[in-house]
């Protein structure tokens, strides 16, 4: 397994785990107050920050445990990364459009922030899934 494939798995697991923890925290707090009144901002910022830090630290750890011969990136790694990026970017655009539409109808900030965050996560998850599938099944 190349370093590129290991990093794709890492991004996938970190994105799912961070968003899962965020959802548990926010939904758990909504038991006592309406969902839109939940103080979601700290959980959102902490989960994004933790995902970024975890991604960096795990990336460094993977670099240390991966044999040096597997560090090399070649044209196939770049092709796969580009295909994953294309899928991921589609969801970034979708997040922007969703935020725009929610702002136009003056939706609560809760929905705007969560629509954008969800699309960030989908971008990361589906981009990573695309990369892993392409590494495993070919293209």
């Amino acid at each position: 397994m190349t370093l590129g494939e290991r990093r794709s798995w890492t991004l996938l697991v970190v994105a799912v785990a961070a968003y899962g923890v965020y959802l548990v925290l926010v939904v758990g707090r909504s038991a006592s107050v309406p969902l839109v009144e939940v103080d979601y901002v700290p959980a959102l910022l902490w989960s994004i920050g933790a995902a970024i830090v975890a991604g960096i630290l795990i990336g460094i750890a993977l670099g240390l445990v991966t044999p040096k011969r597997d560090w090399k990136k070649d044209v196939r790694d770049r092709d796969i990364a580009a295909a994953g990026d294309r899928v991921g970017q589609a969801f970034l655009v979708l997040g922007g459009v969703a935020a725009l539409l929610l702002a136009v109808v003056e939706a609560p900030y809760f929905y705007i922030a969560n629509a954008v965050y969800l699309c960030f996560v989908l971008s990361s998850v589906l981009g990573s899934v695309t990369r892993v599938v392409l590494y495993r099944r070919g293209f």
């Binding site: 397994m1 190349t2 494939e5 011969r69 597997d70 090399k72 990136k73 070649d74 044209v75 196939r76 790694d77 599938v133 392409l134 099944r137 070919g138 293209f139």
Partner: protein, 74 residues
């Protein structure tokens, strides 16, 4: 979404004919990873034209001896 290439190849047999050249040796000579050579051999990845020519060159045969496209274009 994902579809393996229709391009087939005889890299494995040609490596054997070249004194049991390993996948790692071929990868090193053409500047790709061993995983990429494996993917190409298993028809899971279509190499660029440049990489295809490099493989043929290292195996000492013409390009169409290494790669085939069964059934022609469709």
């Amino acid at each position: 979404m994902v579809k393996a290439t229709r391009v087939t190849n005889d890299i494995r047999a040609l490596r054997a004919a070249r004194g049991e050249m390993t996948q790692a040796e071929l990868a090193e000579r053409i500047g790709v990873t061993r995983q990429t050579v494996i993917a190409i051999e298993q028809s899971k990845y279509s190499p660029s034209l440049e990489v295809a020519f490099q493989i043929a060159h290292e195996l000492g045969v013409p390009l169409d001896r290494v790669f085939q496209y069964p059934g022609g274009a469709s």
